[in-house]
Amino acid sequence: MSILVKNILRAVLFLIVQVFALDKIHLHQMVTPYLYFLFILWLPFKMQRSWLMIIAFIYGFILDSFWHNPGFHAAACVLIAYLRPFLVNIFIPQEGADTNFEEPSIKSMGGILPYIIFMSILSLFHNAWLFLLEAWQFGNIWYFLVKTILSTIISVLLIIITELIFVRKQKFRTNTV
């Protein structure tokens, strides 16, 4: 399957799951599980940062249009798309791993721990920015912090479950012929 088709399918599936399953769940009226942004985290390494941000913006905007207030998810998605290349540079194990592999995964990030840290940081940024924009103020800092941290834990758990259920085969590609 070509990379383009694969990613379009992923985007559609993640959106459907987010809008019609996860958004209906409210744990203690506080935590909504967010998983849809995993699509952005799984985009190929070689994609340019500007394209990454534009795709993230459109993707977030589509999700926003389901809930009739555009902007919130789009802003959060653009933020993580902007931060992703920095974190990839920090966590990628050896020189050139991002050219040998197609997209971020446990294998290409060199183990489960760096991968989970990578995912946790981006989930944290996504959720924090999203909740901050929704509340518009640091009205109740503890409420905001607890909500963000709990939501991030749930997001990371969902990401791990997704990784376990849908195993992505990562071919090792090398430049040397």
């Binding site: 019609f20 009226q29 941000m53 809930w67 207030n69 555009p70 933020l79 409420y143």
Partner: protein
Amino acid sequence: MGNIFLFIRRFSNLLLFLFLQVLSIYFIVSYSKFHEAAFGNTANKFTGRINKQFNKVEYYFQLKRTNDSLVKANERLYNKLRYNFNIADSSDKVFLDTIKVDSVSRFRKFNFLNAKVVANSIAAQSNFIVITGDNVHNFKKGMGIVGINNDVVGVITEVDGNYATVMSLLHKDSKLSGKLLKGGETGTLSWDGKKPNILSLNNIPKSAKISLGDTIITSGFSAIFPKGILIGRVTDIQPETTNNNYRIALKTTANFYNIEYVYAIESADAEPVKNILEKAKASAN
């Protein structure tokens, strides 16, 4: 000049990032303006259709609960029928009615139109409900929405095609007035964005006699809702330290978790009241 291009090239990603963030925040801030202009028609129709298809499935699982609440609503209506009451003899006297029977519709102030909910959110800070049905073409912006048990749900903010968007009480910009049934003091309802079902009522002076469990009803001032529709019951009373008001928390009677049907209220008085208020405001300025 060359330096500017160099700068733009060097920081193109950062600039694009900032641009997209500002664009998103602009959408958030001015969503209503923008919504009506460009976004509303196409996107709303598209997502509305998807939501409707999905709701067909979800609706099926809620049939039992919907049925129960309809039976209860019917029960209450039957209890209101006239033959349930002993009417005093004096009212049985035959006398000439000054209101013509034929023209009764002229004297009707409110008319209830049913609608079906296709999408509902409660987790965000600004929650909307999307409704559809045979009556949608009669809906107008600003009409009040009540739930199946005649309790306040929200106000229509937008109508296009076969769908109408309702700003529910659980929206940080939702500002309706509520009134204490017992004392008659009127305040403004708002939602702090934390618990769905818990609203706060502001501007109630400390002179008001109020206790836990008191009923809050619609004031009927804006003529969107008839006077006396249930909003909720008081669950917490806190005196404000900075002014002479109470901060009152109330639990809504409407259950926002599982709304399946709602009624939109067509009000004969809404338009004249709004016009006269605007005139008063204009002359005050």
